[in-house]
Amino acid sequence: MHLDDLANTSGEWLKGSGPESDIVISSRIRLARNLADFPFISRSTESDRAEIEKILHGRITELQSTGRVSPDTLYIKVGDLEEVDRMFLVERQLISREHAESLGARAVVIDHTERFSVMINEEDHLRIQVMQSGLNLDTAWQQINEIDDLIEEQVTYAYSDRLGYLTACPTNVGTGVRVSVMLHLPALVITRQIEKVFKSLQKINLAVRGLYGEGSQATGDFYQISNQVTLGQTEEELTKKVGDVVPMLIDYERQAREFLIRESHETLHDRVSRAFGILRTAQTITSEETMHLLSSVRMGINLGLIGELEIPTVNKLFIHTQPAHLQKMSGMELDTSDRNIERATYLRRHLNADNTGDPNQN
């Protein structure tokens, strides 16, 4: 398994197979962990970082050789990658932008089905992440807990009885857990109710972010809800807190969609059809416009306004039309205007009749 193979597939979590996947894209949990014997990243020297990376690489190789971690798992030294490859991993949500752009020895472990990834030497020595399709936080917690146990058998984590897992930033100390659910909420945006929802979430101490940027509407109406508190509650409690609020959000979004269907069926149908029309005929198109139009199309499919297209295909298009993905798939470095042409070509190829509905095809 090689990094380039990922460009031609898409992660399990994008397949749209999990519960409530018309509205919930993915459930994600991450854990922040540090080795007890080394300073945190901000105070670690170049040789400390190299040592940490070497130790963890060794332990993971050992886990692979004993079959406790799949031999198909990728181990990638992020510093050795070309910029386009690093951006590719960011677009794929396997590493953070910070991890892509920082310096020094650092790596990422990637499950070949993209169910989990482990960033080494990000803000903390270890950032373990598990992704599930749809609303599936309990499974995500169970899986990440197992991966954490496995790594913990190999190394000694920085931990104190009173404060729990010790992290570089005091905002993560304790459980080190960040539970997030990514939702597609186009109808709440159209009906201008989304700010109200944000405010009520903030009141109960949950954070809201966009897909690739905070608060911006133009990123396909995707929103991530996550916990802010990490100390003084159990991992299960923190997971439940996020999990409990999601059904309410799903309900609001469904109500808003019903309202739109009832009160302005023609306008909505028109919006969806135009979006689909542009996407399958455009000759040059930006990433932002693509996200915006795909959002309408995605909702249109869920409302039965578009029949000939499947959700997994659209989910994949959101990711595969990003700049680094287009360049990886075409095998060429492309400037902005070439990318816009390539993106339009890619969309036409995937959205026109004879080729729809197959999520595994490029």
């Binding site: 007890a36 105070r43 984590y157 104190s160 905002t171 944000f198 911006s216 003084g232």
Partner: protein, 181 residues
């Protein structure tokens, strides 16, 4: 319509949320791209920045003198000063949670509303706070010795470090804690 950030034609009309309120932005493609590019992680950096800010805010009660002295305090293990933590919102090593405990307590209360962990406990706990931070301190001392060209001291320290690392490895392979450490 002209872009709000430069003189090009505005082709993007974005609704952004500022303090939870929507505000209209009219941008050219170039400016829209840089506006839309901030990542999740940059957004997530609001949190660490907040930790630093809170630390600053919570220090208000102290006199300028006290604060100046506090800022100079440096962790004996990793060498980070309280001032550096306040500036960047990131700690330098696990021992900082002990060394700056008094300052961190109100900060943790502010962020988490709690100061005690009740979640997962690792099966293998670090072998006492001293042992845990000893290696970090020794490695730093070795680096200092090398940069001040005191190679004799550096090699002594290196032997000490190797000794501890070797002990850790053998106690790990036995999967038992060494009762002597």
């Amino acid at each position: 319509m002209k872009c709000q950030k430069c003189d090009r034609q505005a082709t993007f009309h974005i609704t952004d949320l500022v303090d939870g309120k929507p505000s209209e932005l009219h941008l050219c493609e170039h400016c829209a791209q840089s506006f839309l590019s901030p990542s999740q992680e940059e957004a997530a950096q609001v949190l660490p920045a907040m930790a630093g800010l809170l630390a600053q805010h919570l220090a208000v009660g102290e006199t300028a003198d006290q604060l100046a002295r506090l800022d100079q305090r440096a962790c004996p293990v990793c060498g980070i000063t309280y001032l550096e933590f306040r500036k960047h919102g990131r700690l330098g090593c696990p021992h900082d949670y002990v060394y700056f405990a008094e300052q961190l307590e109100p900060l943790l209360m502010n962020i988490h509303d709690q100061t005690h962990h009740i979640g997962k406990v690792p099966k293998r706990c670090p072998q006492g706070a001293d042992q845990q931070t000893q290696l970090i301190r020794l490695r730093r001392e070795m680096k200092d010795a090398v940069s001040s060209e005191n190679y004799e001291k550096a090699s002594e320290l290196r032997d000490q470090i190797r000794g501890i690392e070797g002990r850790n490895l053998s106690s790990e392979s036995m999967e038992e804690k060494d009762p002597e450490s």
